[in-house]
Amino acid sequence: MDGCQSGVPTYEGDLHVVAAAHHIVKALGATKNLSDDLRKILIDLDSHLSMITSNIDSKGGRGLVDVEERLDQAERKIMRWETDPMMIWDSGPKEASDYLEAVDETGKLVDGLRGLSVHENRKQKEILHRAMNILQMAMSRLEEELIHILVRHGQQFEPKHMYSRSIRKDIVYDESFISVEDEPIKETSSRNYSNDESGECIVDLVHADVIPDIKSIAKVMFTSNYGPEFCEALISVQKEALEQYFSFLGTENLSIEDVLKMEWTCLSSKMNKWTWSMKIIVRVYLASEKQLCDQVLGGLGSVSSYCFLEISKATILCLLNFGEAVAMGPHRPEKLLRLLDMYETLACLLRDIDTLFSEEAGSFIQLQFHELLERLGESAIAAFEAFRVAISSNGSLYPFAGGGVHPLNKYVMNYIRMFPEYCNTLNLLLKNQHPGVADQVTEPDYGLDASLLTSCPMAYHLRSITSCLESNLHKKSQLYKDEALQHIFLMNNIHYLVQKVKGSELRLFFGDEWIRKHNAMFQQHAMNYERATWSSVVSFLKDDNPGSSSMSKSTFKERCKGFSVAFEEVYKTQTSWSIPDPELREDLRISTSLKVVLAYRTFLGRNLAYTDDKCVKHTVEHVENSLLDLFEGSSRSLRNSRRW
């Protein structure tokens, strides 16, 4: 366009050329689908040509007068609003478009007058300055209008219907296992949003109706080189809106020091909230913000992404810093699942982040996200190790009363029951982690039937964890002086282990072979129990001379007494023992019954002659019924049993 500035045509021929050119430009300008850049060039050219024409005319003085008239008219329209307390865009579309027209006109006049060499004409210079004054006033006003529109039509969306918050109960590791409960956890309530379910979820942060208004303000401000002012205003309002939304979500800025000192329950709920807010902020809010910037500033090169970055940067850094603080905190076992939640959230947002901040200026944010992801992964692994250490180092000074299912066992099994939900992530993170040599598991031979699940890293680590648990339980069983109780304890606990595995997705990772092996294990303990408890009791009933028909009365008496005393002793002790699983309890009673009652019946049957004697303290039925009282967890005595 520089070439146009040199000359003002002085003769007729030029005038025609200018007129023809003007005509073409006007015709071109009427075309739809022009790029904004091209349209701007045509507008500039148009005003420039009309200025040349008026300048030629001004030989007769008419041209400048015409320009001045046009400016007067625009000025009146612009100045009218300077004293009006109403906002223009609130007053109606007609007012707004009139105003924009006047600003547009002023801008054209400024461009046109500037294109002419200003030194020639004092009058012309005066008009230019007046026009620039008016333009400045209008731009300042447009900036205010813009802020007003953004604020007034800004919309907050309720996050509730987007994602339901994870309400999984925490499983906290503490020596007392207060928090351990054995209720079934509703799997569905815990993670009811999957990673890709949310999809594209864009809302209108500013009401869709006013987007064209904002666009028209952007257009006229950028055309007049007031783009930076437009951006600063947009950034300031949208940045603050994002911050307000951030606190509306209940997320607050926390220093790293605060996070490191935070109690677990509080931290856990903050981690939960972070996971939730992060998703909403990135997937919904920032995606929508990006769309808004693109809608308003599309076609202006990198301006849109610049504004988007400025709007979002501070809040993003705030979220990232919380993540960093969590990742660097002490690696306690209970943190594992929350850390995995955070890790997975971030991992599935990475693609969005890379898209949102794809420009070079945004690479800083991209990088921070990738670094945090790595850090959270490391931290999750450390928490996983802490979990393993906690299991193997959990020690007890006293035996666990009753020999039932140990709380450590409940804690571990309820905890690892959640792992299959994190299978992919755990496999990824554990790929290069080997469980300590000391904990090496003797892996069952899966042979050719091994499924992928039983041989994935997580499966390996799961089995290594349960093997830590088993060896700890063995250690705990040594605390019982009574060998029979040791077996009851191990039977109970291994049975529980197997039940938990069988009753959940864990079975896929442990495999049938493992289950078979462990079934056999607790059955072995059941048999060992029977041997340890009942062999000596039943030995009283044994027939020393299988050939002869009966024993002497005194022997019978002695045997009978021995049996009663031993049985009563067992009754007294073992009623206080506990087998929490009703089926297992029943099975053991039946098999005990088979062994003891049968022996007792045979013994009495063979010595029918003496059975009236008072020395037969217990009837067969009585013994049979008494066995039903065993393992109920409350100590009883058989002293006045005759009444039964």
């Binding site: 205010e144 604020v151 940045k239 911050e243 850094l317 660097m328």
Partner: protein, 383 residues
């Protein structure tokens, strides 16, 4: 200081440790390492101290100077950690007095991380100032220049001044945060967006205070005496002091949440050779801070101070400007505008790298803490 310097220093320690580990003379070697390290520290800080007060690019407290300071910090940190941890038996670290000194060091490290984050937020404020100054420059550079452009420049400059004199006190942050958007009428919104950087994201946390953090970091920070001065407590002290010092400079230079009462005295032991230059820098900044503190200001960053001075003068000009203006005045202003444009250009070049460097320092502190914790854990007596 160059990368090769550092790698050769680290190599030296590594080789030395391998050669003489568990041998007689170990201690002498360590003393020698420590002396070499202190000599390097002294040189680096001397270079920083010798920066000219008013030079276009490398001035004292300029963006590039702070970047250099952070580079020095990152190097020292690596070397100090090498002296402390490389090839060392973990048990040594968990013996008294280190069992007390290292946890204290780590407390400081955590506080320093928060300060890094505050400074990152502060750099955002500086960038905001840069954008406003750029608007003013482009208005003032307009040809032909008229009252319209003068008003445009003034508007941007007034915003710039109010952004610069952002009150870093908590009360004002809350006031802004609570202020609701309610202006159906225009009277309420005349200057509303000037203060927007006092918003929530500017905060590290509620009630957080940069000056209190520095104060807490200086607690128990005392130079080791007697025999301790030449063994492990020495590098712990050096590392602590450098962390506190660098964070203190960051807070003084870059706007941060709540700086009032920023300690102007750090416990720098001036009787040791290597701290001479450090103390020199400290005194120089301390004096500057005392001079400016009362006024409430955006920080001692050279570019910001320059911007403030030029901004004020240009506001005066735009205030009294009447078309067409005196030639002499216009020339003077043109020079100022060129200077402001130059400041903007330097900010444009330097602020993003500075912010990244601060973030790198942050990540380094995170890793540093993890490494120390790992060693402490290894060395912890088995219960």
């Amino acid at each position: 200081m160059t990368g090769t310097d550092q790698s050769s220093f680290l190599g030296r320690i590594s080789i030395r440790r391998n050669q003489v580990n568990a041998m007689e003379g170990y201690h002498e070697q360590e003393i020698e390492d420590l002396e070499l390290f202190q000599k390097q520290l002294s040189d680096r800080f001397a270079e920083l101290l010798s920066a000219p007060d008013d030079a276009p690019t490398e001035a004292f407290l300029s963006i590039s100077w702070i970047r250099k300071l952070l580079d020095v910090f990152l190097c020292c940190e690596t070397e100090c950690k090498a002296i402390l941890l490389m090839e060392r038996d973990a048990a040594q670290i968990s013996k008294p007095p280190l069992d007390r000194l290292i946890p204290e060091l780590l407390e400081r490290v955590v506080k320093a991380m928060d300060i890094c984050n505050a400074a990152t937020n502060g750099v955002e404020l500086v960038r905001h100032c840069q954008k406003l100054a750029e608007i003013a420059v482009s208005a003032l550079e307009q040809k032909p220049f008229g009252e319209g452009q003068a008003r445009r420049a003034k508007k941007a400059l007034v915003s710039l001044m109010s952004a610069m004199h952002v009150d870093d006190k908590e009360s004002s942050v809350q006031k802004t945060a609570e202020r609701s958007w309610s202006f159906g009428r225009r009277s309420g919104n005349k200057d509303r967006h000037h203060g927007h950087y006092r918003s929530l994201s500017w905060q590290v946390a509620k009630h957080w205070s940069a000056s209190k953090q520095i104060h807490a970091m200086t607690m128990n920070l005392a130079a080791p005496r007697g025999p301790e001065a030449s063994c492990l407590p020495a590098p712990v002290y050096i590392l602590s002091l450098i962390i506190v010092f660098v964070m203190w400079v960051l807070i003084a230079a870059i706007p941060c949440q709540e700086r009032s009462g920023l300690t102007t005295h750090l416990p720098i032991n001036k009787h040791v050779n290597w701290t001479h230059s450090l103390a020199g820098i400290h005194d120089k900044i301390g004096e500057e801070w005392k001079k400016k503190e009362k006024k409430g200001m955006a920080g001692l960053l050279y570019e910001m101070q320059k911007m403030e001075k030029l901004g004020q003068s240009l506001i005066e000009f735009t205030d009294s400007y009447q078309f067409p203006g005196e030639k002499e005045k216009l020339d003077e202003v043109a020079a100022q505008v060129a200077e402001l444009a130059e400041v903007c250009r330097r900010m444009d070049e330097g602020l993003v790298p500075l912010q990244m460097l601060i973030r790198e320092a942050f990540h380094r502190l995170v890793r540093n803490r993890t490494e120390f914790l790992d060693v402490l854990e290894q060395g912890a007596p088995v219960v």
